[in-house]
C-alpha cells in the first residue's frame, strides 16, 4: 500500500503497512523510505507532478573527516499522518523534520531521533577508519555535550 496524498490540503497519509513493526505497538519509519516515496509521488503524472515539491533533500556532508547525516526536510506546507491509532513510531535513518510536520493522531507518538552529532562511519579499510583512541575522544565529547545540555535544561526548568 502506498502513501496517499490530499494534494489540495497537502496532507500525506502513511498507511500502517508502510511502517515497520518492531514489537507490540512500536513501529519505525525509515526517513529514507519517506523521501523516496515523496520523490516518486512528486514526479508522477497521476499524482503530484503538477503540485509543489514535498521534500527537500540535503545529502551527507563530510566536514573535517566526519560524514554528517543527510537531511530530509518536508517543505511547502506539507504535513503527514497515519491511518492507525495508538502506535509509537520511531523515525530512523536520516535526520528530518517529520516530527514537526506530523498531524497528531489518536495515541500516536513520534520519536524524532535526530542528532546534530550523528555521523556515518565507513566500515572497512582506508584512511577514513578511525583509530580506537579517536573513537574514545568522540564518545567523551558527545557525552560532555549531552551532560552540559541536560544540566542547562534542568536549570531552566528549576
Amino acid at each position: 500500500m502506498a502513501y496517499s496524498v490530499n494534494w489540495t490540503t497537502k496532507v500525506i497519509t502513511i498507511p500502517l503497512t508502510d511502517l515497520t513493526l518492531v514489537s507490540g505497538s512500536n513501529y519505525t519509519l525509515d526517513v529514507e523510505d519517506f523521501w523516496i516515496e515523496a520523490r516518486r509521488l512528486e514526479a508522477s503524472p497521476g499524482d503530484g507532478l503538477w503540485a509543489e515539491q514535498i521534500v527537500e533533500f540535503v545529502n551527507t556532508q563530510t566536514l573535517s573527516g566526519i560524514v554528517y547525516s543527510a537531511i530530509v526536510k518536508v517543505i511547502n506546507g506539507y504535513t503527514w499522518n497515519t491511518n492507525t491509532t495508538n502506535k509509537n513510531i520511531s523515525l530512523i535513518g536520516k535526520n528530518s523534520n517529520l516530527l514537526d510536520v506530523f498531524i497528531p493522531g489518536d495515541g500516536i507518538s513520534v520519536l524524532a531521533n535526530n542528532s546534530a552529532g550523528k555521523i556515518t562511519i565507513s566500515e572497512g579499510g582506508g584512511s577514513t577508519v578511525w583509530s580506537e583512541s579517536e573513537k574514545d575522544d568522540i564518545i567523551v565529547k558527545v557525552d560532555d555535550t549531552y551532560d552540559q545540555a541536560h544540566i542547562a535544561a534542568r536549570n531552566t526548568q528549576s
Binding site: W35, L41, A43, S44, P45, D47, E52, N59
Partner: protein, 597 residues
C-alpha cells in the same frame, strides 16, 4: 571587332566594312565571308545600295549597276526588306542565319526560294545584369541557340544585347514571334521578359543582381540528398492551411524536409534556383528549368462532361497553336474541374471560349476567364534570408512557414502565418532516466503556477470536451493539457487536448480532448488551467527534449514549472524551471538532472 551602330560617324567606313565581311553572289546570296564586326541593319541596306550604284563588281561582291534594287529601308533604317527579283532578273537578295548573326538594330525581311516570307527581327535587351551573365532566349518552347555569349552589340551602358532573332520561317511565324529573354545565372537574381518581336527592333528589359542568399556552390546544392525530390514530392492543386483557418489552394507545397542534412529554407531556395539555372536538365513541375518562363495563368473553366482525367504536368493545348503545362487543377476529372493553372509554353494564353485539352486523355474544358499570375522568375519568389515573399500560387509546407513569411494563394487569399512562439526544453540526465516536466503560466502574484486561471462550466462525465466560463486567451498553446480540479477530488486531473476555440462554446472557451474526461462531471467553478508541459520528455538517453508552441498575441508572460525524476532507485533532485517575459520570441532552456543520493 567593331560595332557599327546606326549613327556610326563615318558611313563610308561602315559600308566598306560590310562589303569586306560578306560575299554577295550574282543571284543575291549575301553570306558571311570573314570578320567579326557587327552592323546595324541600316548598313546592310546602305552597302547593297552602294554596290548597285557601282559600275563594276569588286572581289566577291558581284553586284553592280546592272542589278535590280536589292533592298528597301523604312522607319529610319530599322526595317530592311531584301527584294526578290527571281521572276524578272533571277536575283533574290537574301541572307542566311549565319549572316544574320552579324546584324542588329532592326529587322531584315526577305523571301525564300519558295517565295515565302522570312524574317529576322531585332531584339534589344536593356537593363543591367551581373557581369558574365549569359542571356537566354526561349522561343517556341526551345532555347534559341546563343551566339552572343555574355552580350553582344552593347551600344550603350544600358544595353545588354542587340541581335536578330528569326521569327518567320517559310512564311510562318515562329510561335507568333514571341520570345522570352531570361537571365538565370546561379548566384544572381533571376529575370525573365516576354516580348513579341516583329518588324524593326523590340525591347526586352532585364535586371539582375548578386543574390545574397544564393552562395552555396551549384554542385554542392545539386548533390544534396533529396535534391530531385523537392519539385516532385507534392505537385498540383494543394490545399495548405497556413493560418489555421482552413486550407487555401496553392501549386504544390515545397518543403525542405526531404533535404536530409540540409533541412533549411536556405537550402530549399537554392535547390529551386538550381532547378531553373541556365543549362540545367532538372525540371520543376515537369518543366525543364531552361524552358521555365514564369508565365503562369489561372484559368476559370466550365466543368465539362465525359469524365476524362487530366494528368498532372501533362501538356494542354488550345486553338491558335497555344500549349502549356498543366501545373494544377482543382479537380483532375474534367466533369468537376473549375480551375486550371498552366505554365504557358507556346502561343498566347487561352481566353474566354477557348477549349483547353489535355494531351493524355483529351480531357477538356471551356475557359471562361483567364488570370495572369504575378509570378517570379525563380518561381519561389523573394527570400530575405529569413522569410519568403512568395509569388502568387507558390505553396510551402505549412509547418515550415514562420511568422513573417508572405504567401498568396491561388484564390487570392493572403493567409498570415501565425507568430508561433516555441518554448524548448533540453534535459541532460542519466541515459536511463525518464524524467517528467510540468510547466504552466505563472500566477500573477504568487511564485507558483496559476492553478485557477480559468473556471469550468458544468459538463457531464466522460466528455470529449472541457468548457470554461470565459473566452480562452488567444495565446494559449494550440495543444497541451488542461488540468481540472473536479469537485470531490483532491488533485488536478489532466486531459490532453488537440485544439481549443471560443466558437463551439461561444463566446466562451472549449478544449476538445484527445480522449474523454473521467467518469466524473465538471462542476461549474471547478478550477481549470493549462499545463504547457505535463508529460515525459521526448526521446531517451542522456539528452531528452520537449517543445510546445503558442501563437503570440500581445505582451509578455511568465511560465514556471519543474523537471522531476522520481525513480525509487536513483531519484534526481527536482529542478525548478522558468521562462520569463516570454513575448514574441521563442525561448530555450537547458537543465541538468543530478542524482540526489
Amino acid at each position: 571587332m567593331t560595332v557599327y551602330d546606326r549613327d556610326y560617324a563615318t558611313p563610308a567606313d561602315a559600308v566598306t566594312a560590310v562589303l569586306a565581311q560578306f560575299s554577295i553572289t550574282a543571284g543575291g546570296d549575301i553570306r558571311h565571308d570573314t570578320g567579326t564586326n557587327t552592323f546595324h541593319v541600316w548598313w546592310l541596306h546602305r552597302a547593297l545600295q552602294k554596290k548597285v550604284w557601282d559600275l563594276a563588281t569588286s572581289g566577291n561582291d558581284l553586284l553592280n549597276l546592272a542589278k535590280p534594287n536589292p533592298s528597301t529601308s523604312e522607319a529610319l533604317g530599322t526595317i530592311i526588306t531584301l527584294l526578290d527579283h527571281t521572276t524578272d532578273y533571277t536575283v533574290r537578295y537574301n541572307i542566311d542565319d549565319t549572316a544574320a548573326e552579324s546584324f542588329f538594330g532592326g529587322s531584315i525581311e526577305q523571301q525564300n526560294g519558295s517565295s515565302q516570307t522570312e524574317r529576322y527581327s531585332g531584339l534589344i535587351v536593356l537593363g543591367t545584369a551581373v557581369a558574365g551573365t549569359q542571356l537566354q532566349v526561349v522561343q517556341d518552347a526551345a532555347v534559341y541557340t546563343s551566339f552572343w555569349g555574355t552580350g553582344l552589340n552593347q551600344t550603350d551602358s544600358n544595353t545588354l544585347l542587340r541581335v536578330l532573332i528569326k521569327t518567320i520561317v517559310a512564311g510562318a511565324e515562329v510561335d507568333k514571334q514571341i520570345v522570352v529573354v531570361k537571365a538565370h545565372e546561379y548566384g544572381d537574381t533571376y529575370a525573365v521578359w516576354e516580348t513579341t518581336l516583329g518588324l524593326g527592333e523590340k525591347v526586352a528589359a532585364i535586371s539582375t543582381a548578386d543574390d545574397p542568399n544564393n552562395n552555396t556552390a551549384l554542385g554542392t546544392v545539386q548533390a544534396y540528398t533529396g535534391f530531385a525530390g523537392v519539385g516532385a514530392t507534392v505537385e498540383g492543386w494543394t490545399l495548405i492551411d497556413v493560418d489555421g483557418n482552413g486550407g487555401d489552394p496553392f501549386i504544390g507545397d515545397l518543403s525542405y524536409a526531404g533535404l536530409t542534412g540540409n533541412q533549411t529554407k536556405d537550402a530549399l531556395y537554392e535547390v529551386v534556383k538550381a532547378y531553373l539555372v541556365r543549362g540545367t536538365t532538372d525540371t520543376l513541375w515537369g518543366i525543364d528549368g531552361d524552358l521555365y518562363t514564369a508565365r503562369l495563368y489561372q484559368l476559370t473553366v466550365t466543368p465539362g462532361s465525359g469524365s476524362q482525367l487530366y494528368v498532372q504536368n501533362e501538356t494542354v493545348t488550345w486553338a491558335g497553336g497555344g500549349s502549356g503545362t498543366l501545373l494544377a487543377a482543382d479537380d483532375l476529372d474534367e466533369d468537376n474541374t473549375t480551375r486550371i493553372v498552366i505554365h504557358l509554353d507556346k502561343g498566347i494564353a487561352p481566353v474566354n471560349t477557348d477549349v483547353v485539352t489535355g494531351a493524355t486523355n483529351s480531357a477538356n474544358n471551356t475557359v471562361t476567364a483567364t488570370e495572369k499570375l504575378a509570378t517570379a522568375a525563380n518561381y519561389i519568389g523573394v527570400y530575405t534570408g529569413t522569410n519568403w515573399i512568395a509569388a502568387k500560387g507558390t505553396g510551402f509546407l505549412a509547418t515550415e512557414l514562420i511568422f513573417g513569411d508572405s504567401v498568396t494563394a491561388l484564390d487570392g487569399e493572403t493567409p498570415s502565418v501565425p507568430q508561433n512562439v516555441t518554448l524548448n526544453l533540453t534535459v541532460n540526465c542519466d541515459a536511463s532516466d525518464d524524467p517528467y516536466c510540468f510547466l504552466a503560466e505563472k500566477d500573477g502574484a504568487l511564485e507558483a503556477p496559476d492553478y485557477n486561471k480559468y473556471s469550468g462550466e458544468t459538463t457531464g462525465s466522460s466528455s470529449s470536451f472541457v468548457d470554461i466560463d470565459t473566452p480562452l486567451d488567444a495565446d494559449e498553446p494550440q495543444t497541451g493539457y488542461v488540468g481540472v480540479l473536479h469537485t470531490g477530488r483532491t488533485y488536478f486531473t489532466f486531459y490532453e487536448y488537440s485544439d481549443w476555440n471560443n466558437t463551439e462554446n461561444t463566446p466562451n472557451g472549449r478544449f476538445n480532448l484527445v480522449g474523454t474526461t473521467d467518469a466524473i462531471g465538471i462542476t461549474a467553478g471547478d478550477d481549470v488551467f493549462i499545463a504547457f508541459f505535463y508529460e515525459a520528455l521526448d526521446g531517451t538517453g542522456a539528452v531528452q527534449t520537449l517543445a510546445n508552441s503558442f501563437v503570440f498575441d500581445t505582451g509578455t508572460r511568465n511560465f514556471v514549472g519543474w523537471v522531476r525524476h522520481g525513480d525509487p532507485t536513483i531519484p534526481d533532485k527536482p529542478v525548478p524551471i522558468a521562462y520569463n517575459a516570454v513575448g514574441s520570441n521563442s525561448q530555450s532552456l537547458t537543465v541538468v538532472l543530478e542524482n540526489e543520493s
